[in-house]
């Protein structure tokens, strides 16, 4: 009822942007070969495919190499604190649900310091898209273990190897109630771009775990490593995206790594439960002379 999936007012007829039009005046500062480039390119391509204009999009970024993308993608951007991108995005979306809201952040940001927000944002099912740039390491702080690092992974902060089991972001999203859960690979931009496009089109909270090689600090989870292990869920004819059990099972595979959409269902949006935004976004209300007599009378 509240909303159709947020979409652009623009269409084939009046839209003439190219991916390059989403570049800012700043050139990316990522290491050459970094997986962030693939995600960056896929994203810009997707915006064009969806006829989205830069001002119709708000991306909230966390802090990390991934978050630095705030400087390189031309949309409204909020470069939030480390781990706090999801709540900033949530507040923004609830205050103006007409905006296309996306979140970009690292694995440390999303399932480490911001882990609590991740779980709760999934279960809320607010109509936003979250791209987790998962390089299984802390990039910006120059190579410490991440919560997603494989057991035994040697880093500056774990010279004898990580003792914990890694967090599995896909499994966590499934368990927490996200309604669109996918995985992409920054080394396959046309596949990734499709996964992103469907995520943005999805009515509900969409989560994409993007396997993103960090060429500088993660010599284990490389492009080749992934290319060897990856297979595509959409190539399995019998795969039922609405089957949570199946999605959970696939998400736990380690020898072979599935990419594509694990799970997609429709569930009422958080926004659908908010009568106060049914007619128009909160920000569109005029606030200059609100009559509170009715409230004051309660106190006599």
């Amino acid at each position: 009822m509240v909303m159709d999936k947020t979409k652009s007012k623009y269409s084939k007829e009046n839209y003439n942007l190219k991916p390059g039009d989403f570049n800012t005046e700043r050139k990316p500062t990522w290491c050459s070969g970094c997986g962030n480039y693939g995600i960056w390119n896929s994203l810009k391509k997707t915006f064009v495919k969806l006829y989205l204009m830069p001002h119709e999009i708000l991306i909230v970024y966390g802090i990390g190499c991934s978050g630095n993308g705030a400087n390189f993608i031309k949309t409204y951007a909020f470069h939030a604190l480390h781990g706090r991108a999801l709540p900033v995005a949530t507040g923004a979306k609830l205050a103006n649900h007409k905006l296309n809201v996306m979140i970009i952040g690292g694995d440390g940001d999303g399932v480490g310091i911001g882990g609590n927000h991740f779980m709760h944002t999934c279960r809320r099912n607010i109509n936003m898209t979250y791209l987790l740039h998962n390089n299984k390491v802390y990039g910006l702080t120059t190579g410490q273990t991440a919560p997603t690092s494989d057991k035994g992974f040697k880093t500056k902060s774990t010279p004898s190897g990580v003792l914990e089991k890694p967090v599995n972001p896909v499994l966590l999203a499934l368990a927490s109630g996200a309604t669109y859960v996918a995985r992409g690979f920054s080394g396959d931009t046309s596949h990734l771009s499709e996964v992103i496009r469907k995520a943005i089109k999805h009515k509900g909270f969409s989560f994409i775990d993007v396997l993103q090689p960090c060429v500088t600090f993660n010599k284990q989870n490389t492009y080749d490593f992934y290319r060897e292990k990856i297979y595509k869920l959409d190539e399995i004819k019998s795969y039922d995206k609405s089957d949570l059990n199946e999605a959970i099972k696939r998400s736990m595979e380690e020898e072979k790594i599935p990419i594509g959409i694990f799970y997609q269902v429709e569930r009422p949006l958080y926004e659908d439960g908010l009568k106060q935004i049914e007619r128009k976004p909160l920000v569109d209300h005029i606030i200059t002379d609100i009559d509170i007599n009715r409230l004051l009378n309660n106190y006599y």
């Binding site: 949530t90 923004a92 103006n96 200059t288 004051l296």
Partner: protein, 576 residues
């Protein structure tokens, strides 16, 4: 006996509805035009523990509760044990012999009257549930003051109406029985309040007032995690549909502040509230609002800390924490209203200052101010007006190429509502250039720090200096802030009956600190003393930090309880 002032206190175990009983008693006097101030004290337990509710009623203007109790209603023996000492000469203790063994107490204080009312017997004969002893005590108290039973019945009806007529009738009946019991037993009226102009007064707490002020100011997004002052959360949630406000009970206080920042970023006025623990968790978020220049209003209700501390009691221990909150140097406004009326208007102001200067504004309350009821004839809500400063909400308002952090003369850069065409930018928690791009050069850093701080020039002109109460040329000048205002004004009025003994400099704006005007006041005054509900005299510290003046005399309290005027009087009398 005709009186202009009367203090009533009820005490009993938690779970016995002391809170709602007290509120009813306050209401019946406010409704008829009396001045009322109350204070409820309870422990952080759902059952058990000792709760009290103290109400001061007056036919004149009053500013706080006081120490001398005229009527003490004891729903258990512990109430007498803990509070007998507070009962004034000739005062009354109302008790039930079933619950209280009164013998020793009578011996200890022969100057007061002991009125036995068989609360439990009345209730069991009526077949009403035990919690309704409250109502018997209310009826008995009304009779002791020769007050109007009808108004009590009306208020009970208002408050319990939702629970159905059977419950309402039992409540009313039990209060009638208490009333009749006293009327029969005592032939004379014990107390009688002087007549006042019969105008119905509203009864509001600091929390109510902040909420009302925020709704009027157009707050559209309110987030909180349950913690004092949680009634603000409940109030927002109860009206969110009618007033088009989104209220969010978020997963933690980091989420709370960051959600509010997100809402504010896209143009909605946003507020959050918490007490010390939650404020600690919000701290990083406050700096994010500062760096991105996103307006935000934060209510900080002080409780005795550190850690969980005394979660249901009061203190003023967080002033310096608020003034210096979060990392880095940045401009903020810290406001500390002294009473609910100031809470109302200053909350309106807080939103304007946040918007105009694009900074965090912190409103400091304490548990006493948050939860005590004060009576007022009215709040003139038209006096809260909305000024959103340099906010551009339409594309056509944007003049040329938009630069979010444009280095203007006054330091304030036009802010757009995110989503409009032509206003694209990065709100950046990294240091950034005028467009919002991350930028680390020394040259840029200095420019941006100066830009953000330059706002102080206009801001300080706009912020009113502390208010002076009492004679200008008093012998002693009391310096204080926040909710100490009430007890100090009471003390001042008593001390000044004969001579020009005391005046009060009360800070409602704690920061930014206008050193020049404060220095002027200090130089003019004779003897100075600070009154603060904390251990380390934080106001004295901030005055010294900003002016170099050291106020040596201090009246401090840090027991978790609000000051009583009597304590301030005795503190002042000790000053040499």
């Amino acid at each position: 006996m005709k009186v202009s002032n009367l203090t009533w206190k009820i005490g009993g175990e938690a779970g016995f509805g002391i809170l709602s009983t007290g509120k009813i008693f306050s209401k019946i006097f406010a409704k008829k035009g009396y001045s009322v101030i109350d204070n409820n004290e309870y422990s952080s337990l759902i059952r058990g523990g000792h709760n009290t509710y103290t109400i001061r009623i007056s036919s004149n203007e009053i500013f706080s509760t006081n120490k001398d109790i005229n009527i003490l209603v004891a729903l258990n023996e512990e109430t007498i044990r803990l509070h007998q000492e507070e009962v004034t000469y000739g005062g009354y203790i109302v008790y039930d012999e079933n619950d209280c063994n009164i013998g020793d107490f009578k011996k200890a204080r022969k100057d007061i009257n002991y009125v036995m009312v068989p609360f439990s017997k009345i209730i069991s004969e009526l077949g009403a549930p035990k919690v309704m002893v409250n109502n018997v005590s209310l009826g008995a108290s009304v009779a002791l003051i020769n007050y109007d039973l009808e108004i009590l019945k009306n208020v009970i009806k208002d408050i319990f109406g939702r629970k159905g007529s059977e419950i309402v009738n039992l409540n009313i009946k039990s209060s009638e029985l208490g009333y009749k019991y006293i009327k029969k037993k005592l032939k004379i009226n014990v107390y009688e309040l002087e007549i006042v102009k019969p105008v119905s007064k509203m009864l509001v707490t600091g929390n109510d007032a902040v909420f009302l002020g925020a709704v009027r100011a157009g707050c559209k997004f309110y987030a909180a995690y349950p913690m004092t002052p949680s009634s603000i959360l409940h109030l927002f949630a109860s009206i969110e549909d009618d007033y088009n406000i989104v209220t969010k009970h978020a997963e933690d206080e980091m989420a709370v502040i960051n959600m509010a920042i997100g809402a504010s970023f896209v143009g909605a006025r946003a507020m959050v509230a918490t007490s010390g623990g939650g404020f600690s968790l919000m701290n990083e978020g406050i700096s994010s609002a500062a760096m991105t220049e996103t307006p935000i209003v934060i209510v900080l209700c002080q409780r005795p800390a550190p850690a969980t501390g005394l979660p249901t009691w009061t203190e003023q221990g967080d002033m310096l924490f608020a003034v210096h909150s979060s990392h880095g140097e940045f401009l903020r406004v810290v406001i500390a209203p002294g009473d609910p009326e100031e809470c109302f208007y200053l909350t309106g102001e807080a939103f304007n200052l946040a918007d105009k200067y694009q900074i965090p504004v912190i409103i400091m309350l304490d548990k006493y101010l948050s939860e005590s009821h004060f009576s007022y004839e009215k709040f003139d809500f038209k006096n809260i007006t909305v000024d959103r400063g340099k906010l551009l909400s339409k594309s056509k308002d944007i003049d040329g190429e938009y630069r979010r952090y444009f280095n203007t003369d006054d330091g304030i850069s036009p802010r757009v509502v995110a989503g409009i065409k032509g206003g694209i930018h990065i709100a950046n928690s990294d240091e950034h250039d005028e467009d919002g791009y991350s930028e680390e050069s020394a040259h840029n850093r200095k420019i941006m720090v100066d830009k953000r701080f330059r706002k102080i020039k206009k801001l300080i002109e706009e912020i009113p200096p502390p208010k002076i109460y009492g004679p200008i040329d008093a012998e002693i000048t009391v310096w204080s802030w926040g909710s100490c205002k009430g007890p100090i004004l009471e003390a001042m009025n008593i001390l000044n009956q004969k001579e020009k003994k005391v005046n009060l400099i009360h800070f409602t704006y704690l920061y930014p600190f206008d050193s020049e005007s404060i220095e002027g006041i200090i130089e003019e005054s004779n003897k100075n003393v600070v009154v603060e509900n904390n251990k380390t005299s934080q106001l004295a510290k901030i005055i010294m930090m900003n002016t170099g003046y050291k106020i040596k005399n201090k009246i401090l309290k840090y027991s978790g309880r609000q000051f009583l005027p009597e304590e301030i009087i005795s503190g002042i009398e000790k000053i040499e």
